[in-house]
C-alpha cells in the first residue's frame, strides 16, 4: 500500500515534468542514460524510468551500465566524453566529478532548466551547493547520497559499558579496553581503508577535517594546513602502533572492512552507507542486531565531519536531446524519486526532509540516525583535475600508512603537487 502511494506520487511528478515541457509529445525521443555500475542500482533506476516513460509517451529511455567502481567509471567516461560521443544523453556521475566534467566542457549547464543555483540547490543537503555548482552554473542534479559512517559493535560497547566515543583518542581507548577484555588476537579496534583506492581520500580527510580545517576554499584553491594534515595522519599511525588499527591497513579496501566487520573481527568500522544492510541483512553476517551507527569522532577540540559521496545526474554537452534530457534529470532529482530510492533500495536521500519522511523511517529506520551524519558531511576536494587530486592524495596516504613515507614528507608532497593543480 505504501508502495502504491509512492508510485502514485511518482506518476504525478513525472506527469508534471512532462507538462512543464513545451515540446510536443508526438515526436519520439530516445534518451540514452549511463546509469553507473551494479552498486548504483540500475534496476531501481529502470523502474523510475518506466514511470517517466509511462507519463511521457514520447520518450523512450535506454540504460547503459558499466564500470564497477567510481574509478573505472571515470576512466570509461573520460574516454567516451573525450571523443565527444553523442550517443549518451545523460550520465550518472560520482559526486567528485561534476567539477571536472563541467570544467572539461562535457556537461550542459542546467541553469536554464532548473533556475539559479542557489534556489535550485536550496531543498537539498547543503553539500550539493558546493559539489554540483561549478562557476555559478548547475552542473548536475543530485540523484542519491552516500556518506562515510562510523559503525560500531553496540553489544561490545554495552558489555564494557562504554559510551559512544566523541574523539579519536576516546575511540582508541575504548578499542583497547575491548580488545584487551575480549582477548581475541584477531579483533581489530578500528577498520579504515588504507589501500590506494578512492576511499583513502576520505581516510586522509576525516581526521584533518575533524580539526576544523578545510582542504580547499570555495573557489577550489588549495588551503591545506600542513601541521593539521600531519597530525591527522599521525593519529592513524598512532592507532596502528597501539594495535587499534591493523598493521597492514594500507592493504585494506572497502569490502575488506565490510567482510571483517561482518565476521565479528572489528569493533569500530568506517564505511559507506551500503554497509548497514550488509551487516544487518546478509545471511553470513555474525553481527546482526549488534550494530550501531554514530557520527564520526573529532580531534580533541575539533568538530565531527564526514565524507559525502553519492551520484548525480548530468546532461551531456554532446547530447542531441538536451531539453528532453534535462527534464528527465529534473524528474530523477525530485523528492519523490529520492524517497522511492530510499524505500526500495535503502539509498540515502538527497533531501534533508526525506530522512524524516514517515514512510522512509518505517522502511529504513536507521536513516534517522544517518541524517545527522550526512548534514555534517563535506565534499571531497572539488577540482577540474579531480583525477589527479584523488590520485595524489590516495597514493600518498596509502604510502604513509604503509610506512614507506613519513607523514611530514607525504603531506609536503601532496601540498607541492596539488598547489600547481588547485589554484
Amino acid at each position: 500500500m505504501q508502495r502504491r502511494n509512492l508510485m502514485k506520487a511518482l506518476a504525478l511528478a513525472a506527469g508534471m515534468a512532462a507538462a512543464a515541457g513545451t515540446t510536443a509529445a508526438f515526436a519520439q525521443t530516445a534518451l540514452r542514460v549511463f546509469s553507473g555500475g551494479a552498486n548504483q542500482r540500475p534496476d531501481l533506476m529502470r523502474k523510475l524510468f518506466d514511470q517517466y516513460q509511462a507519463a511521457n509517451p514520447g520518450v523512450k529511455i535506454e540504460i547503459e551500465t558499466g564500470g564497477a567502481t567510481s574509478e573505472l567509471q571515470r576512466q570509461y567516461l573520460s574516454t567516451v566524453l573525450n571523443a565527444k560521443d553523442s550517443a549518451i544523453d545523460i550520465y550518472m556521475i560520482d559526486i567528485v566529478n561534476p567539477a571536472q566534467y563541467f570544467g572539461a566542457g562535457w556537461l550542459e549547464p542546467l541553469n536554464a532548466y532548473v533556475g539559479n543555483p542557489a534556489d535550485a540547490m536550496k531543498p537539498y543537503l547543503p553539500v550539493y551547493l558546493q559539489s554540483n555548482v561549478v562557476d555559478g552554473k548547475v552542473a548536475a542534479m543530485p540523484g542519491f547520497a552516500d556518506a562515510m559512517f562510523m559503525y560500531y559493535r553496540k553489544d561490545l560497547l554495552d558489555k564494557y559499558k562504554i559510551a559512544e566515543p566523541k574523539t579519536w583518542d576516546e575511540l582508541a581507548a575504548a578499542s583497547k579496553k575491548i580488545q584487551a577484555g575480549e582477548g581475541n588476537p584477531n579483533l581489530q579496534g578500528l577498520s579504515i581503508q588504507g589501500a590506494p583506492i578512492e576511499g583513502a581520500v576520505c581516510t586522509f580527510l576525516l581526521p584533518y577535517w575533524s580539526q576544523g580545517k578545510e582542504f580547499n576554499d570555495a573557489s577550489g584553491k588549495l588551503t591545506l594546513d600542513k601541521a593539521a594534515a600531519v597530525k591527522g595522519l599521525n593519529q592513524w599511525l598512532a592507532m596502528v602502533d597501539s594495535g587499534v588499527i591493523k598493521r597492514n591497513v594500507a592493504e585494506v579496501k572497502t569490502p575488506d572492512t565490510v567482510n571483517e566487520f561482518k565476521a565479528g573481527q572489528v569493533v569500530f568500522a568506517i564505511n559507506w552507507g551500503f554497509a548497514w544492510d550488509r551487516f544487518q541483512v546478509d545471511n553470513d553476517s555474525t553481527v546482526k542486531g549488534k550494530v550501531g551507527v554514530m557520527p564520526l569522532p573529532a580531534m580533541a577540540g575539533g568538530k565531527s565531519a564526514t565524507c559525502v559521496g553519492g551520484w548525480q545526474w548530468a546532461v551531456s554537452a554532446f547530447s542531441k536531446n538536451k531539453a528532453e534530457a534535462a527534464k528527465l534529470v529534473k524528474f530523477m532529482s525530485t523528492p519523490a524519486a529520492s524517497k522511492f530510492l530510499a524505500v526500495e533500495g535503502s539509498l540515502l536521500p538527497v533531501y534533508q526532509s526525506v530522512y524524516t519522511d514517515p514512510d522512509v523511517v518505517k522502511a529504513v529506520p536507521w536513516f534517522k540516525d544517518a541524517s545527522n551524519v550526512v548534514i555534517a558531511g563535506k565534499s571531497r576536494p572539488l577540482s577540474k583535475d579531480y583525477g589527479q587530486v584523488s590520485d595524489v592524495v590516495r597514493t600518498t596516504t596509502s604510502a604513509v600508512l604503509a610506512r614507506t613515507k613519513k607523514p611530514d614528507d607525504g603531506v609536503g608532497e601532496i601540498q607541492s603537487r596539488l598547489a600547481r593543480v588547485m589554484r
Binding site: P196, G387, A399, A402
Partner: protein, 300 residues
C-alpha cells in the same frame, strides 16, 4: 601475347602487383589502428591539451618534452620499467629453461605436464595479477600461510606494502606468468636437438654438466634469443600485473611507464603531456628493439 585476355593477366599478376595486393590488407589495418593514432599522438605532444581545463589546445612546441626530462615521476617510472625488464626477462628465461628441462624428461603421460606449461600462458594477465595479489595478501594470502606453517617469522610480512617486497612480488608474478610460454618455446627447441650429439659427447667423455653447457645451450641459442626478444618487448610494456597488484604503490614504488602514461592520459586527462610520455616510451622501445629487428633481419 595479344591473345592473353585481361582475366588471364589478372590470374598472373606481376611479382610487384601481387606483392602490393597481398600486403595491402595488413598495411591498411596498420594505418588505421597504429599509424594514424601514432600520428595523432605525436601531433598532440606539441600541445598543451588538458581536457580538464576546457581551455582547448595551445601550441607549446617542445615544452612538454622539456617537462618530461625534469619529471621525477617519469624517471621513476622509467627506472621501474627498465628494472622490471632487467629482472623478469632473465628470470623468465632461467625459470622457463628449468621448466623446459623438467618437462623434457621421459614421462609416461605427457599431457598433464604440457597443460601445466600452457595454463599460465592462457591465463589473462589481469587475472594473474588479481590472483597473485590475493596470494600475497598479508592476512589471507597463501604465501604468508605457508611461511607461518613452516614456522618462520612471528609477524606476517606485508608483501605488497613494502617497496622492495612489492617489487619482488610483482617480478615473481611476471616471471611465473611468462616463464611458461618461454618454457614451451625452449621445449620445442630441446626436442629438435639430435640425440646423436649427446651420444657423441658421451663418447668424448663429457659430463652431464658439460653436455648442458656445450650442447644444450648452444643448440637452444636461436630459440632463446627469439624468446628473449619477444619477452623484452612485452616487459617494456608491463601494465596489467602491477596495475592489478599494487596500483603502482606503495607510493609510486612500482609504477611503470605504461601505467604513468595511462594515468596521465585517462585519469589526469592531460592528453598533451601523456602523448609526450608515450613518445618517450616509444623511443625507449625502439632503441631496445632495434637490436631485435637487426636479428630478424639477419635471419629472414
Amino acid at each position: 601475347m595479344a591473345g592473353a585476355s585481361l582475366i588471364e593477366r589478372l590470374r598472373d599478376p606481376s611479382e610487384t602487383a601481387l606483392g602490393v595486393l597481398l600486403l595491402a590488407p595488413a598495411f591498411l589495418l596498420l594505418a588505421l589502428i597504429v599509424v594514424y593514432p601514432i600520428g595523432t599522438l605525436i601531433f598532440n605532444s606539441f600541445f598543451d591539451l588538458r581536457l580538464s581545463g576546457g581551455s582547448g589546445m595551445k601550441f607549446v612546441g617542445l615544452e612538454n618534452y622539456l617537462l618530461v626530462l625534469e619529471d621525477a615521476d617519469f624517471w621513476n617510472a622509467t627506472w621501474n620499467t627498465v628494472l622490471i625488464t632487467l629482472i623478469t626477462v632473465p628470470g623468465a628465461l632461467v625459470a622457463g629453461l628449468g621448466l623446459a628441462l623438467l618437462a623434457n624428461l621421459p614421462f609416461r603421460r605427457q599431457w598433464p605436464v604440457r597443460l601445466a606449461l600452457l595454463l599460465p600462458w592462457a591465463l589473462p594477465l589481469a587475472f594473474a595479477g588479481l590472483i597473485f595479489a590475493w596470494f600475497f595478501h598479508t592476512e589471507y594470502g597463501v604465501v604468508n600461510d605457508v611461511v607461518r606453517r613452516l614456522g618462520f617469522g612471528s609477524e606476517p610480512t606485508m608483501w605488497l606494502l613494502r617497496p622492495g617486497w612489492a617489487f619482488a612480488a610483482i617480478c615473481l608474478t611476471i616471471v611465473w606468468k611468462t616463464s611458461s610460454f618461454m618454457a614451451l618455446i625452449l621445449l620445442a627447441g630441446l626436442q629438435m636437438i639430435p640425440r646423436s650429439l649427446y651420444e657423441a659427447a658421451q663418447v668424448d667423455g663429457a659430463t652431464r654438466w658439460q653436455q648442458f653447457w656445450q650442447i644444450t645451450i648452444p643448440m637452444l641459442m636461436p630459440s632463446i634469443i627469439v624468446a628473449l626478444i619477444f619477452r623484452t618487448i612485452t616487459a617494456l610494456q608491463t601494465f596489467d600485473i602491477p596495475y592489478t597488484m599494487t596500483k603502482g604503490g606503495p607510493g609510486n614504488a612500482t609504477e611503470t611507464l605504461a601505467m604513468l602514461i595511462h594515468k596521465t592520459t585517462i585519469d589526469y586527462l592531460d592528453v598533451g603531456y601523456g602523448s609526450t610520455l608515450a613518445v618517450f616510451m616509444f623511443v625507449l622501445s625502439l632503441a631496445v628493439t632495434t637490436v631485435y629487428l637487426r636479428r630478424i633481419g639477419r635471419q629472414a
